[in-house]
């Protein structure tokens, strides 16, 4: 009787650390970002302001840049114009750029899109599903995706330094 009780106690003492590890790791797993560098980029299909619908998974083998923008964000316009320069420079090397609208009403988004002279497609995400999948918490936010469809860099700002870093990473990705 005493032996059985002792054995149960030992089993419980062994199980306890394992349970604690599981409980501690649960919040970390739940809060894990979907859009961290090294993870596969979440696929999406969206309507464009002008032109055909776009599905991300159709661009495996190309370097893709996704820039999240909102109509009330001045830095977004500057970011999109900077990306437009990169797009016209590296389009021939397999670069694709998409601007995805976030947290806007459709009329404001369309007005912003018409006033932003870019040659790459601007996409509408009325359900905000893509913004959620990429954990957009700041505007502008730029995601660089490599030719294998994996996220390589997430830039949550737009300034001279971030622009230079982004361009350097882009060149590296295109050279791979």
């Amino acid at each position: 009787m005493i032996r059985a009780g002792a054995a149960a106690c030992v089993r419980r003492s062994r199980a306890l650390p394992a349970l604690l590890v599981i409980f501690w790791s649960l919040p970390a797993l739940a809060g894990r970002s979907h859009a961290a560098a090294g993870l596969p980029a979440p696929d999406f299909a969206l309507r464009a302001v002008a032109g055909p619908n776009v599905r991300l998974s159709e661009h495996i083998g190309q370097v893709v840049v996704i820039s999240f923008w909102g109509s009330g964000c001045d830095a977004c316009r500057a970011q999109l114009e900077a990306l437009n320069q990169d797009f016209s420079r590296y389009q021939g090397q397999g670069l694709r750029v998409y601007g995805v609208e976030v947290a806007d009403d459709q009329a404001a988004a369309l007005h912003f899109a018409r006033g932003t002279p870019v040659t790459f497609p601007l996409l509408l995400d009325p359900a905000k599903s893509v913004a959620r999948a990429y954990d957009v918490d700041n505007l502008p936010m730029t995601v660089l995706i490599d030719r294998d469809g994996k996220i390589r860099q997430v830039v949550r700002d737009f300034n001279e330094t971030s622009r230079r870093d982004c361009e350097d990473e882009l060149r590296r990705l295109l050279a791979e």
């Binding site: 055909p52 619908n53 159709e58």
Partner: protein, 204 residues
Amino acid sequence: MLEVPLPLARRPAGRCLTVKVAMLAALAALAAVPVAFAQTPAPAAAAAAPAMQSAGGDGVDAQVQSLKSDVLDLNRDLFVLEQELLYPANTQVAVFVSIDAGTFFALDSVQLKIDGKEVANYLYTPREVNALVQGGVQRLFVGNLKVGKHELTAFLTGKGPHDRDYTRGATLEFRKDIGAKYLELTITDDQSKLQPQFRIKDWE
């Protein structure tokens, strides 16, 4: 490229999922062993490595390729098992989409509702539409339904004749019996009316 899955063939009973997972893990571990050794060569062995690589390199490569092939086979079997577990044949219902001709309609999106509840909403790219026009069939939805009467409604949007925005619906009341139910949403050209035609019918 569009996924064009075929109706699943029944697998022999008694194949255990856990055994497959264990085999997959073991194969993955085996495949990782040569890589792990290759990354950390001992100093003494490092000098002799080039000569040995040329002699035995081909054999190891062949083994690795064979293991990769086995892993892919197991992965496929696991996928089939997963599908069978998630959508048992008794309750399974699947909806396929096909386009015949498509001169009068450029497909943009399809929304599916079963018994008034949205079950699928798909946005098509030109590449996907092209694949359908060329004869591809897309499995748009697979799910489970109880035996009895049900209603399937499909709302289609796109560009109709004269490049006008076009939205149409098609409805089918069907009875789900014991056994899998396959339905097909077809988009055809009605040459007499010069209009597209949408129909839902039993998969043949």
